[in-house]
């Protein structure tokens, strides 16, 4: 499957970013790699979509950011989930399950 983030359904990117942050704080590249990893390389999130999404989600209060040192001692901006973000993850997860179940149903019907 071609890794094309723009074909992601509205909200899916948010869901993936939130999910990637459940285990702990990550910087932008870390999030990108983590999404790649947990989707078995299906989705490659490019910086051009990643950063606007991160900033939007920060504005919504789902994630918060701070400057820290990366594993090889570079200054990097880290993101982590807020309480609202965890709630949002539940909402998005529930919504996505519903959608995927519905799509699966639709595809199974003949």
């Amino acid at each position: 499957m071609s890794p094309e983030p723009t074909t992601l359904l509205q909200g899916t990117l948010d869901l993936l970013i939130l999910k990637s942050l459940v285990a702990g704080q990550l910087h932008g590249l870390g999030i990108s790699r983590r999404v790649q990893q947990i989707t078995s390389g299906t989705f490659l999130v490019k910086p051009g979509s990643l950063f606007p999404a991160l900033h939007r989600m920060e504005d919504e209060g789902w994630i918060s950011s701070f400057w820290g040192d990366s594993e090889n001692n570079r200054r990097a901006k880290y993101y982590r989930l807020t309480k609202t973000g965890r709630k949002q993850l539940e909402v998005e997860t529930e919504r996505w399950s519903r959608i995927s179940w519905a799509i699966a149903q639709a595809l199974e019907a003949s």
């Binding site: 910087h27 910086p47 939007r56 919504e60 990366s70 990097a76």
Partner: protein, 907 residues
């Protein structure tokens, strides 16, 4: 703090967008570096690693741009969606929306109109070059005012001060302009030639004055106003160079001034319509007499100089003048520098600012009312908010929704208010000329937009922040569980609404007390002693066509062979003709009838009394004809009034007013005392023997204290004296008392046309009109304040009614229980009435305290009534209690008619 995050980001976006960008830039670079590191670890060469990283990133600037776009888009989108949602909500309740918008529009419209006046009059610079540096220099009087000084003093100031880049002088005068067809009196301004360049005014046609034209005995030249050029000369293109007869002398026209040139502004709007400018050519009199106070000084400060510096210099100059001229300068002589615009508006400033203050109160009341309406709506929509909160709307989201509704209401209120302001300004433009200084410059300018923006922001915050915070504080769970009402929350809201209403009552109390005090003032003024009868009396001015104006004042050396007076030759015969005109009961001449603003002050000495150099006696001086007291119906208190026998050859006599008699003859009989009006210096050689005391006449302001006054027989003012031009030969006023309604102006014009064709008549006014105009400002102030107070009362009634009605409907259940337990309907009604009375009482008490505090501000507008006038306070208190009871009656009645069984079954 999740709730603070969006607020923080909002400020980050708006306030610190530079900082955000730097942060983003750093983040993108860090990302790029980490990608490069990753590629290096994967075994790429340094160059390849960087290249691959760039490809994956897609360009730092592009990434940044995408983030920025997203951010702006979201911001705009959220504003748009908030506004759209608010509009949809408001459309659902058109009644509420209309009331709220109208309430705000009234408050905003009135404020916008008055702001426009304040901006145009007080703040907008005059249309002259560096007008903020224009400074008027006049005599130091007890308060800043236009007060002329003399040419000699002007010369000293010009030569001894260094704060001014340019300094010039001017003098107001009158003259008659004669052409083949017209004989018009025109306003004349004599200016030193440097005044026009200083003001930076270019003539419409021709040129301004040259230095040579300002020399003593210089050429007779004139500049016309655009009004005179168009009206009298039909805009003749060849006007420059033509000869025009003004004041009996041919003047060569050198230029025409455009309409916008109306210097000096204090001369009023007539100047642009019918004024001319002469170069100020100092006469021998001006050059030698330091007491010849006809000169106004205008200076332009150097860019680095301040008014204070100029004042310090003037103080030194004044000290030097006193020191050098001990004999003819009073020791309390002083000069004052005042910013020109400030001096021009010195009267209007406190009035306008006080009105603006009153209007701010009205706007506050309007905001409180809208806040109450919104709170009431929130109570009704509690469930809606609870559901929205339960479905995940953040508190901020709810607050934004309410603020959005408030903002939409405010913006619409501003729009409607702007239209109302336009109407109000149309009314203001219809006010009589001269009511407001610079009245013709009042127009809407861009600062109003800023002001409206600020007003909209403030009204939004004031009216919707409180309800928004209440909604945000409330617990959605309680809201959902309690069905239609949550007991805990609504009592908080009930209190809040109550406080708002009490606040409204307090502010209205202040407005009502202000209106009450002004009403008492006007009442007192209209019944104050004028010292003359107004009914059936008309005044008009007459300017002699051949008079050279006040500026030609001079003492003639040859006093023995002085020519005969115009008073004897022209005025006396024409007065005789006037008196024999059918319908005229009596007629007289006066150089300055009451409230005419024509004024001549002079120092005098009482013959046989030692001279006190520190405290020279001074008085207004007026020339009057016989029958003056009879025509004005002013009683003669002692002795006799000037009569027809006081001719030029008869013994010189004078009549004084009561103020002068009390001030200078406190314990003696003034009759037969003699007054010396300057002797050789002024040409008043003969002393005047006091033969009577006339009751005081109001002089410059109704309700004011009149100045001392000396009345001289008009035929006895020597033609060789300085006083002749000032009192007799230039401009005089006639007062006529008619028997029935008579077209005075046309009758008089035809009489004068036959008997004295050389006199140009002007300014026909009924005495009643003169008096009304004089107290117009108080009247206008009363009307405006009453209108504001009326507005406030209506809002208070609506607010009180609303709060009580709300309270009753939310306490139905409780009231039902009370009645089931034995409370009577009277008890219940009494409970609601008490609640209303408490709100009114608290508001009234704090309002009275507030009014006592601000009353001092008002005291300078009051006449014969103290700012703490008990009657006014009592009337306002009783009035508000009555109004409050009226507003509480309906809710009380509704509460009393609740059926307990029905109310209990409802939930």
């Amino acid at each position: 703090m999740p709730m603070l995050a969006p607020i923080r980001s909002f400020f980050r976006n708006l306030v610190a967008s530079g900082h955000v960008d730097a942060d983003l830039d750093q983040e993108a670079h860090a990302h790029l570096d980490m990608l490069t590191d990753e590629n290096l670890r994967a075994g790429m060469s340094a160059e390849q690693a960087q290249r691959a990283a760039y490809i994956e990133l897609g360009g730092i600037e592009q990434v940044k741009e995408q983030v920025r776009e997203q951010r702006l888009g979201q911001w705009l989108h959220s504003i748009y969606s908030d506004a759209r949602f608010a509009l949809r909500q408001l459309r659902k309740s058109p009644g509420f929306t209309c009331v709220a918008i109208l309430t705000l529009a009234l408050g905003i419209g009135a404020n916008a109109a008055l702001f426009t006046v304040v901006e145009s009059v007080l703040l907008r610079p005059l249309p002259y070059a560096h007008s903020e540096r224009l400074v008027y220099v006049g005599l130091k009087t007890d308060k800043p005012q236009f007060s002329n000084t003399s040419w000699v003093n002007y010369r000293d100031v010009r030569e001894q001060s260094h704060s001014f880049q340019a300094i010039g002088a001017y003098a107001e005068d009158v003259a008659v302009l004669q052409t083949k067809d017209v004989t018009n009196s025109v306003g004349v301004i004599r200016v030193t030639p440097n005044v026009f360049p200083m003001l930076g005014i270019q003539p419409l046609l021709g040129r301004t004055f040259t230095e040579a034209e300002g020399e003593p005995g210089g050429p007779q030249v004139v500049m016309l106003s655009e009004g005179v050029w168009r009206d009298v000369f039909k805009a003749a293109p060849d006007i420059v160079g033509r000869s025009v007869r003004i004041g009996g002398v041919a003047h060569s026209v050198v230029g025409v001034m455009p309409y916008r040139m109306s210097f000096p502004e204090e001369a009023g709007p007539d100047l642009t319509k019918g004024g001319v400018w002469f170069p100020l050519q100092p006469t021998p009199e001006m050059l030698k007499d330091r007491g010849y106070n006809f000169i106004a000084i205008i200076g332009q400060l150097r860019p680095d100089a301040t008014v204070e510096q100029a004042q310090a210099e003037l103080d030194i100059v004044a000290q030097r003048i006193i020191h050098d001229n001990p004999n003819n300068t009073s020791s309390n002589f002083g000069l004052r520098a005042s910013p020109y615009l400030k001096l021009l508006t010195v009267q209007a400033r406190p009035v306008l600012l006080a009105l603006l203050g009153a209007l701010a109160l009205v706007l506050l009341i309007a905001c409180a009312n809208v806040a109450n309406l919104l709170i009431a709506r929130c109570l009704g929509r509690q469930q809606e908010f609870a559901v929205r909160a339960a479905l995940g709307a953040s508190r901020l989201r709810l607050i934004r929704q309410l603020l959005g509704e408030g903002a939409v209401l405010s913006v619409l209120g501003c729009g409607v208010g702007f239209l109302l302001a336009e109407f109000a300004l149309m009314g203001i433009r219809k006010l009589p000329e001269g009511t407001i200084p610079r009245g013709n410059s009042i127009a809407i300018h861009w600062p109003l937009l800023l002001a409206l923006g600020a007003i909209a922001a403030i009204t939004t915050l004031l009216s919707s922040l409180l309800p928004a915070l209440l909604v945000a504080r409330s617990d959605p769970q309680a809201g959902l569980q309690a069905g239609t009402r949550s007991v805990g929350a609504h009592s908080v809201r009930g209190h809040m609404s109550g406080w708002l209403v009490a606040g409204e009552v307090a502010l209205s109390t202040v407005l009502l007390i202000g209106a009450g005090l002004l009403f008492r003032t006007l009442w007192n003024l209209e019944r104050s002693q004028l010292g003359f009868g107004v009914a059936q009396v008309t005044t008009f001015s007459a300017v002699s066509a051949d008079s050279g104006g006040f500026a030609t004042m001079a003492v003639s050396e040859n006093a023995t062979n002085a020519p005969a007076s115009m008073a004897t030759l022209i005025y006396a015969p024409v007065l005789e003709r006037v008196r024999h005109t059918p319908g005229i009961e009596s007629a007289a001449l006066s150089s300055a009838p009451p409230l005419s603003n024509d004024d001549l002050h002079s120092s005098f000495e009482i013959v046989g009394r030692a001279k006190d150099p520190a405290n020279t006696a001074s008085s207004r001086v007026t020339a009057v004809s016989d029958e003056y007291a009879r025509t004005m119906r002013t009683p003669v208190l002692r002795g006799r009034m000037i009569d027809a026998d006081d001719s030029a050859d008869a013994p010189a006599v004078a009549v004084i007013n009561e103020v002068l008699a009390k001030k200078y003859f406190p314990n003696e009989n003034p009759l037969q005392q003699q007054l010396d009006l300057g002797g050789k210096d002024t040409g008043m050689i003969r002393p005047f023997t006091i033969v009577g005391v006339l009751a005081n006449q109001v002089d410059s302001a109704v309700g004011g204290t009149p100045d001392p006054m000396i009345y001289l027989p008009y035929q006895q003012v020597p033609t060789s004296s300085l006083f002749y031009q000032a009192l007799v030969s230039t401009m005089v006023n006639f007062v006529v008392r008619t028997r029935a309604d008579l077209p005075v102006a046309s009758t008089m014009r035809s009489v004068f046309h036959e008997a004295a064709p050389n006199l140009a008549l002007d300014s026909f006014r009924a005495m009643q009109e003169v008096v009304d105009d004089n107290i117009f400002n108080q009247r206008l102030g009363l009307y405006l304040t009453s209108a504001f107070a009326g507005l406030a009362i209506v809002m208070v009634m609506a607010g009180l009614y609303g709060v009580l009605a709300q309270l009753v409907s939310y306490r139905r259940h409780e009231i039902g229980i009370r009645m089931a337990l034995g409370a009577t309907r009277q008890n219940v009604a009494g409970m609601v009435l008490r609640q209303g009375a408490m709100l009114i009482g608290v508001g009234l008490a704090s309002g009275i305290v507030l009014a006592l505090a601000v009353g001092r501000v008002l005291s300078k507008f009051l006449y014969d009534v103290r700012p703490t006038d008990l009657l006014t306070y009592a009337a306002v208190a009783i009035g508000l209690l009555v109004i409050g009871s009226l507003a509480s009656l309906l809710p009380a009645h509704r509460a009393a008619s609740i059926e307990p069984m029905q109310a209990l079954r409802e939930d």
